[in-house]
């Protein structure tokens, strides 16, 4: 078995035992990327030189007997939405094509101080807006299980690189399902932490009240290890919560006694794919066989999740993305063209306003523009109460649904998506169909609770199916332990796609 087929936890043990060097491991992944990423397109940039340098430094520290971080020597891929100092961070957008932040995201700082090796930057939907990674301004990413299909999104590159053994660990972000959905469609594990568990500092904002950074990995214990490094209060993020980070990687293998799981009936009644439904039902049975009690629960407002999400997220985005105006950094349209255009069309619009208009029309892709317009409209005078305020009220009701549910059950179990990975191009001209990809995932973001996606089966066409577990806020430990129980009883996580 090749070293890259082992889990991160196994690799770490080998590194610690001196049976493997970080340079060897990093090189093995770089070779794998070289070999298969041409057909997958998971990486926007592979940072080979700096990765090997970091690996060598960590190896040297290890041989010198220096103390090392929790991820010492493990390569990690980073979604191109997290700022990394003095290296390009594009957010999948033309707007930030040449942008190099002068600072690291806190999550990146945490990786570096845990002695992780940063392998490169993964592809994503522009500004994390999308469910297929087709909205990237740079390239598409193919699903490693079927390269005619999408990997999910917006963290499509993050999921695909793990699924295709191009990285043992990766960082994604989840605003409405952007970690869990691609993890499900690519057959890996992805966790969206409780809002406030991981610092958002340096995460390029899409919708600030929904965005969370989280880990993707092949297994639950690897996910636990990475979350342990990422989590924690950050004085630079007012919305991060000051709570002790449990030692997830230490407790993940402890099964939970008397586990009660809640099932939401609607999850299986709204045009869900039969094979997906069957896999998820079977997963529920596995839990029953492990001693868990299954309880039917009501989420009366869950049906309004998508509508609520597609008001709140675009509203916040319309404001968060106002800064990309061409005045300070990032893409700016050609000044001579602005003046020539104005002279030609005789508009009384000033050159500044025309510069804004042209810059944003050229720098943003169509989905980003659509959401900015949706948000701008919903926040406008006369519409604010009907849209934004109402959405906030529904959001509170959804949170109440969760609070009531978690009074009765430990975790909520169900599907991640209604369907397995769809064909490339299938939904690009139908935004509503694309938005419905988030059907089962958005409510966790709206309520701020944690959720995990883990492999629970394959369709007859060989496409992975994901199982979602959701927990009350700050119950990631429970989430991980329950997920590990399932993983120990099944082997879906160990299947690998065949790549040429």
């Amino acid at each position: 078995m090749s070293i890259i087929q082992k889990t991160a936890t196994e690799q770490l043990a080998l590194l610690q035992a001196g049976e493997l060097t970080s340079v060897e491991l990093t090189q093995a992944y770089l070779d794998r990327i070289e070999q298969v990423d041409g057909s997958i397109g998971a990486f926007l940039r592979v940072e080979s030189d700096s990765a090997l340098q970091q690996a060598a430094t960590i190896d040297a520290k290890r041989s010198a007997g220096d103390s090392l971080g929790k991820l010492a020597g493990l390569p990690v891929a980073i979604k191109d939405i997290l700022c990394t100092k003095d290296t390009p961070t594009t957010c999948g957008s033309r707007m930030l094509e040449h942008f190099q932040p002068p600072y690291n995201a806190t999550a990146v700082e945490k990786l570096l101080s845990a002695d992780a090796v940063i392998l490169g930057r993964t592809n994503m939907d522009e500004f994390a807006m999308g469910s297929s990674t087709e909205n990237s301004a740079y390239q598409t990413t193919q699903n490693p299980w079927d390269i005619t299909r999408i990997p999910g999104g917006s963290s499509g590159g993050a999921a695909a690189c793990v699924a295709a053994d191009m990285a043992p660990l990766s960082l994604g972000t989840d605003t409405g399902g952007s970690i869990r959905q691609p993890a499900a469609l690519c057959g890996c594990v992805g966790l969206k932490p409780t809002y406030g568990r991981v610092s958002r500092y340096g995460l390029i904002a899409f919708a600030s009240s929904l965005d969370q950074i989280g880990p993707l990995a092949r297994t639950v214990d690897d996910t636990a290890l990475l979350l342990e490094v990422l989590a924690g209060y950050d004085p630079l993020d007012s919305t991060s919560v000051n709570r002790e980070t449990p030692a997830y990687s230490q407790t993940v293998h402890q099964p939970l006694e008397g586990l009660t799981l809640g099932v939401v009936e609607q999850h299986f009644s709204e045009g869900i794919d039969a094979e997906v439904a069957t896999s998820v039902q079977q997963a529920i049975q596995v839990y029953q066989s492990l001693g868990a009690t299954i309880k039917s629960i009501e989420m009366p407002h869950a049906d309004y999740g998508i509508a609520t999400y597609y008001i709140i997220a675009p509203c916040e985005a319309s404001s968060n993305l106002a800064r990309y105006d061409g005045a300070h950094y990032g893409y700016r349209t050609d000044q001579a063209e602005v003046l020539a255009e104005l002279a030609e069309d005789g508009s009384d619009e000033g050159p500044l306003v025309r510069m804004y208009r042209k810059t944003r029309s050229e720098g943003f892709g169509s989905e980003v523009q659509r959401r900015i317009m949706l948000g701008t409209y919903a926040l406008s005078e006369g519409y604010y109460e009907a849209f934004y305020l109402k959405a906030l009220k529904v959001r509170r009701l959804i949170r109440q649904d969760y609070d009531r549910a978690f009074e009765q059950v430990d975790l909520i179990i169900g599907p991640v998506t209604a369907n397995p990975a769809f064909a490339k191009g299938e939904k690009t001209s139908d935004p509503m169909a694309m938005y419905l990809e988030d059907l089962y995932t958005v409510t966790a973001n709206l309520a701020g609770v944690a959720g995990i996606s883990l492999p629970c089966g394959f369709t007859s066409a060989g496409l992975p199916v994901g199982l979602q577990l959701q927990s009350a806020p700050f119950e990631e430990e429970k989430l991980l332990r329950a997920a590990q129980m399932y993983q120990s009883a099944t082997d879906f996580h160990s299947r690998r796609p065949e790549l040429s």
Binding site: L82, C83, T89, C91, L96, F99, P101, P102, Y103, A105, R200, Y201, G202, L203, I204, A205, A207, S208, S209, P235, L236, D237, S238, T239, C315, E316, S318, S319, L321, A322, R323, D325, A327, H328, Y329, P351, L352, V353, Y356, T376, L379, S380, E381, Y384, Y388
Partner: protein
């Protein structure tokens, strides 16, 4: 102003830069005058992924000010984004407070010592915190369309204090600004430098005109760019006349025209239309998801309340009632600031003469401060030292003219009053010796005696000069009186 055919209605929006070392949402310095864009960081530059963290000091300075303005402090307040595009606003929104400001419903009392208006209580609608924008510098030289942006100021904490439209003349508006500035100075919450922009005023002005068909109101105009107390007064008066003229010409009343923004051009002494933005501006306020709401406790509010020391209005009352000073003197002293008041109080206590102390600080001390353009903290004669001089006056050892001479030397030399009196050889002149001298002078100057007898009292002045030559320590007033008495008795 009853002679005018209209009543001016004025509400002021005052922006106060709070005296914090660092900005409202990041740790950049707020110092004024540094080279452009040297006091910036990813947060105030609005770079992708950066996040704001509230400066608690700014919040508490805001609360201190609001409490001094008698405002209520809600226990819960939040931050909102005001969205608009402008190059000096790098995030594309200003973080401000919309529907739940940090304070509401207070007042500031104003009065005029020159009887320009009746005392008035100007009610405050709200005072809320927000971040300042940067500065755009436009080079409008011919053939150039060059604009530069300095973001040093971006993110500096501002307290916006919004009054009700309670003022009825430009003099009242000016007095409100002056009283507010004084209050802010006493609270030590702002530098209050209008030239540097740490205290800025926008005025909302319209007219109520009595016509045969009842009272009509003219459209409201917001005046910006008034960078001094004088320009507040002049800008409003100009605008009132302009609105009256426009109304006479067009007859347009409130509601028939959009709210207009006009800038005060100090060199031309006119207001000029800037933009009729309000009709189209939609700031799309919504709660800032990057900041958590601020929740305060009664204990915290009480703590801030206790930090508030003596304030101008209370001090004026105290100086009048307890120190027996005139309204005018009390006003002059209090208007100089807390340091000056403290100087006075110390001088009054040490000299034991409240009135004499009042006259001296209001007269000599203030004159010197104005001449030297310094503050009381830089003044060279301590209250204790000046009190010694005042005691010599009270004892009759010095007349006021001599005392001023001594004071001048004290200021130059730093010596005590007693030492200066000795240096100058000032001795108290014995009264019988003085009378002898006067008699001698009267005898020697028959022509002056005649002049006085003929009704020209002023002629006696020449005798004072002669007396001074004989003995430099003589009190001119005494010499004058004694000589006149002698002549009249002849």
């Amino acid at each position: 102003m009853s002679e005018l055919p209209y009543e001016i209605v004025i509400g002021l929006e005052v922006h106060v830069q709070l005296k914090t070392n660092t900005k409202l949402f990041c740790r950049c310095s707020t110092a004024f005058g540094s080279p452009p864009n040297t006091q910036t960081c990813p947060v105030c530059l609005g770079m992708p992924g950066s996040l704001p963290v509230m400066n608690k000091k700014a919040y508490f300075l805001g609360m201190k000010t609001a409490l001094a303005l008698h405002c209520g402090i809600p226990k819960f307040t939040k931050w909102d984004r005001k969205n608009y595009f402008y190059p000096d606003l790098p995030k594309g929104y200003q973080t401000s407070q919309f529907d739940l400001p940090m304070s509401e419903e207070g007042y500031l009392d104003i009065k005029s010592t020159k009887d320009e208006f009746e005392p008035r209580r100007v009610r405050i609608i709200r005072a809320h915190l927000e971040e300042d924008a940067g500065k755009s510098i436009h080079d409008e030289a011919a053939g150039k369309a060059d604009s530069r942006i300095d973001l040093n100021r971006t993110g500096t904490p501002l307290l916006e204090i919004v009054s009700y439209p309670d003022m009825r003349s430009a003099a009242e508006a000016k007095a409100y600004m002056q009283e507010l500035r004084l209050l802010l100075t006493y609270l030590d919450v702002s530098d209050c430098n209008m030239q540097e922009g740490s205290l800025r005023c926008d005025a909302n002005v319209n007219l109520h005109i009595t016509t045969d068909d009842g009272v009509i109101a003219t459209p409201i105009v917001e005046i910006k760019n008034m960078n001094s107390f004088r320009s507040v007064e002049r800008g409003i008066n100009y605008e009132a006349k302009r609105q009256y003229d426009v109304w006479q010409e067009t007859g347009k009343v409130l509601g028939e025209l959009p709210k207009q923004t006009r800038g005060w051009d100090d060199s031309a002494q006119v207001t000029r239309s800037q933009r009729e933005k309000e009709e189209s501006a939609d700031y799309r306020y919504f709660p800032c998801p990057d900041l958590i709401p601020v929740v305060v406790t009664d204990e915290q509010i009480d703590e801030v309340r206790h930090e508030i020391g003596d304030l101008p209005a209370a001090l004026r009352d105290r100086l009048e009632s307890e120190y027996d000073l005139t309204t005018y003197t009390a006003d002059v002293i209090v208007n100089q600031g807390l340091g000056f008041v403290e100087y006075y109080l110390e001088l009054a206590a040490a000299s034991g003469d409240n009135k004499l102390a009042g006259n001296w600080v209001q007269g000599e001390v203030l004159r010197i401060l104005n001449d030297l353009e310094i503050g009381i903290s830089d003044f060279g004669v301590s209250a204790a030292a000046l009190a010694e001089l005042l005691k010599l006056i009270q004892a009759g050892d010095l007349d006021s003219s001599k005392a001023k001479d001594v004071f001048t030397v004290m200021l130059e030399s730093g010596k005590s009053a007693a030492a200066v009196v000795e240096d100058l050889g000032i001795e108290k002149v014995d009264e019988s010796a003085l009378e002898d001298l006067c008699r001698l002078l009267v005898e020697r100057n028959q022509r002056i005696v005649d002049d006085v007898k003929n009704g020209n009292e002023k002629a006696v002045g020449a005798l004072i000069g002669q007396a001074k030559k004989e003995n430099p320590n003589v009190n001119p007033g005494q010499v004058r009186q004694i000589c006149l008495d002698i002549i009249n008795s002849l």
